[in-house]
């Protein structure tokens, strides 16, 4: 009897401490944001020659650090393979997962996680060797396909080949590095992944010109940052850090003009550049810090994956809603 009381008590203590852990508090105490990124995917998250992490996914982490700690550089990065990423977040090893992760029902509803938005609208594509002379994925019946384990890619691929009554052999690797090596060694006829990632994998090839990306896009891959379920305060902070970047682009606030814009007469810009922080549990200059240190969404896009990068990906679906794209952030008010 006494034992079961003890049990209940102890369970309640454990339960109480771990389930309602306040991520913001932890972040402030540690003085850095722990961010899970890829093991290296140019444009999204990759360490440069100096060992600094760069990329559109990295910028989300930097924005959160700027918002919470006032310094975008206060981020500790943890490179994760596709397989490891959710466990790392669930177990509290990282505070945010920002690693080209597709928002799906299963992941949102059964992993104890929440998706805080979409920072890149993507879709799955195929890359084949030039030598094959293939023009469409529908000519690939019987092909061997290199993929990465633990991704939506694996599932979409199975669906696509089944729907088109085609056979294939899936060669499944752990990291994108191995995947690209397998493809290069000729282990498979094609490599499939989110289309944006195909471009960044392609530049890793010894001879990028010998690989072509096929026109088919076979799935919807909304990629975005993920947080643990059950900490709404932190969820809001990550969500609104991303929204602040998109809103800044919409209002024409950039890294360069952020300081002047602080004195803008436009009430919407005034709200973006100051105030509102308290509601999120942050200081009032949270969004100013984001824009002045990380830049707006468009700037981050162009510098990392767009015209200012080797990937040269067009805005496409990722243009602002007002320019025919899907990037649309709720208003800051």
């Amino acid at each position: 009897m006494r034992k079961s009381v003890f049990l209940g008590l102890a369970a309640a203590v454990m339960f109480g401490t771990s389930a309602s852990a306040d991520t913001l508090e932890t972040v402030i105490k540690n003085d850095h944001v722990k961010c899970g990124v890829s093991t290296g995917l140019a444009g999204f998250s990759a360490a440069d020659e100096k060992g600094d992490w760069q990329g559109i996914d990295v910028d989300v982490c930097r924005a959160v650090a700027a918002a919470t700690l006032g310094d975008a550089s206060k981020v500790k990065y943890t490179p994760l393979t596709a397989k490891e990423r959710f466990t790392a977040l669930q177990s509290g090893e990282i505070d945010i997962l920002s690693r080209n992760t597709t928002w799906t029902l299963t992941r949102d509803a059964s992993l104890g996680l929440n998706f805080a938005g979409v920072n890149y609208y993507d879709g799955q594509g195929f890359m084949v060797s030039d030598k094959l002379g293939v023009k469409s994925a529908l000519e690939l019946d019987g092909a061997a396909v290199c993929i990465q384990a633990g991704t939506t890619t694996e599932l979409n691929l199975a669906d696509y080949f089944k729907a088109n009554n085609m056979e294939y052999k899936a060669v499944t690797y752990d990291t994108s590095d191995q995947t690209i090596k397998g493809f290069e060694a000729g282990r498979c006829d094609m490599l499939t992944s989110d289309q944006s990632q195909l471009y960044s994998l392609r530049i890793k090839l010894a001879k990028p010109d010998e690989a072509v990306v096929l026109p088919e896009v076979i799935s919807k891959e909304p990629l975005g940052p993920v947080v643990r379920q059950g900490d709404d305060k932190w969820f809001n902070i990550v969500k609104w850090s991303l929204f602040a970047m998109v809103n800044a682009e919409e209002m024409g606030v950039t890294k360069a003009n952020a300081k002047e814009m602080k004195d803008s007469k436009d009430p919407a810009i005034q709200r973006l550049m100051g105030g509102q922080g308290e509601k999120l549990g942050l200081s009032d200059d949270w969004s100013y810090n984001i824009v002045s240190q990380v830049g707006n969404y468009g700037e981050s896009f162009e510098a990392n994956v767009g015209s200012g990068s080797p990937l040269k990906i067009g805005r496409g679906l990722n243009a602002l809603w007002s320019k025919g794209g899907l990037q649309y952030a709720p208003p800051i008010r």
Binding site: K3, L7, A10, A11, M14, F15, S18, A19, A82, K83, F86, T87, Q90, T106, R107, A109, S110, L111, G112, L113, D141, G142, A143, A144, A149, G150, T151, E154, L155, L157, A158, D159, K162, Y168, K169, A170, V171, T172, Y173, D174, Q178, K181, G182, E184, A185, G186, R187, D189, R228, Q229, G230
Partner: protein
């Protein structure tokens, strides 16, 4: 302790002071404590996961998996369940472990004996083999066999081939697969009968030798029974066997049996690495048999060959088997490095993809751990049994 004895000992202390009962009491207490602690941990984990919105339980095993697996010993498709991915991964792990153990043992014995060879060149080559493969980390060897050797292989169109029936290329090895026709069953039956007959013959020959001292060519007779008999039946029933040859198609070969390069690379790396250790065990086992034994054997007129087979090896085995067990256990556990090159073993498939798609880490890791525990215990139990059997030979 019997009651009679108790009665005879008048100064017997009360039960709570009896060391025997005391020890028992504390052991029971410990087990209860451990059990309660375990239940507590499990309950606590489940409660915590529930509170965080993480699914728990084993219901996921019946859900559709939705992904494909490169190599499967049982029929599998994306429509199969997650439970089936467990089976497929498990069988692939067992396959690589069994093949690896067999190959590593054969190779290890050959090299171990070779290192003791009187031929300078052979002995040196064996030493170089052992020192090289024992001292390079296994993962690097796996990568070498997979990425470096694989890259050097020709494409499907330019495959290396033997007699247009065996092919080797970057996609793996293709061998003809036998297709049995009507009446092949008789050959199979003859084979089984041959094995049984060989055993009976061996026992008869041994008894006769004990009784009369006369020897019988056991080896050659057994060979004849096990292979000759079925061959005879096979020919008599009209050779009911054809071969399905691999044929080149648009992307690759179809037909025949395909051995994927992931399996080949992993098998080669695992068996060479383990063989290097086994070779050293074999060498030390043989050296442990004192030279006096050999001298005695030769002086009673045994040939050097008989000496090796009847005197040295049986005694060396007693030294060899115990450390061999741990090499086998290592091989079984090292096979989980499969995931590095995409060989679909249980770690790669079940603890990798299935875990990631379902997110049920606790259940899946527990199941995978149980697999390795069972596998290791089975190997240990078998080797202990074999060890005990060999030890009985001691007189």
């Amino acid at each position: 302790m019997s009651t009679q004895q108790k009665g005879l000992t008048p100064g017997k202390p009360p039960i709570w002071n009896d060391p025997h009962y005391r020890a028992l009491f504390f052991q029971v207490l410990l087990i209860i404590g451990l059990g309660v602690f375990l239940v507590y941990i499990v309950n606590n984990t489940l409660a915590n996961m529930e509170a965080r919105g993480i699914s728990t339980g084993f219901a996921f095993l019946n859900e559709r998996s939705g992904f494909d697996i490169l190599q499967s010993l049982v029929p599998f498709s994306a429509d199969s369940t997650y439970g089936k991915t467990f089976i497929v991964g498990l069988l692939n792990t067992l396959l690589i472990t069994a093949l690896g153990i067999i190959l590593a043992t054969i190779l290890g014995f050959i090299i171990g004996v070779a290192r003791l060879s009187k031929n300078w060149l052979i002995a040196k080559l064996a030493t170089i083999f052992i020192e090289t493969f024992r001292n390079i980390p296994l993962l690097i060897q796996i990568f070498f066999w997979y990425f470096v050797v694989l890259r050097a292989m020709p494409s499907a169109r330019d495959s290396l081939s033997i007699a247009d029936s065996f092919f080797l290329n970057v996609r793996g090895m293709y061998i003809p697969s036998p297709v049995t026709g009507d009446g092949f069953i008789f050959t199979t039956i003859a084979f089984v009968i041959g094995i049984i007959a060989a055993f009976i013959m061996r026992r008869w020959a041994r008894n006769r030798q004990f009784a009369t001292g006369e020897q019988f060519p056991v080896f050659w007779t057994a060979l004849g029974l096990i292979f000759g008999l079925p061959l005879l039946v096979f020919v008599l029933t009209g050779s009911p066997l054809t071969w399905d040859l691999p044929v080149l198609e648009r992307f690759n070969f179809a037909g025949g049996t395909r051995i994927i390069p992931e399996l080949l690379a992993l098998l080669i790396a695992l068996s060479i690495y383990t063989a290097a250790f086994i070779a050293e065990i074999v060498r030390s086992g043989i050296l442990a048999v004192s030279h006096g034994q050999t001298e005695a054997a030769l002086s009673v007129g045994l040939t050097p060959n008989q000496n090796l087979r009847l005197v040295v090896i049986p005694q060396a085995m007693r030294v060899i088997i115990p450390p061999m067990t741990s090499q086998y256990l290592n091989l079984a556990k090292n096979s989980s490095l499969a995931t590095a090159i995409g060989y679909p073993d249980i770690v790669s498939v079940f603890m990798g993809t299935t875990l990631n798609q379902t997110g049920q880490a606790v259940e899946i890791i527990a199941m995978t751990m149980a697999v390795y525990l069972t596998l290791s215990l089975t190997i240990s139990v078998f080797m202990n049994w074999y060890n005990a059997k060999m030890a009985l030979v001691e007189r």
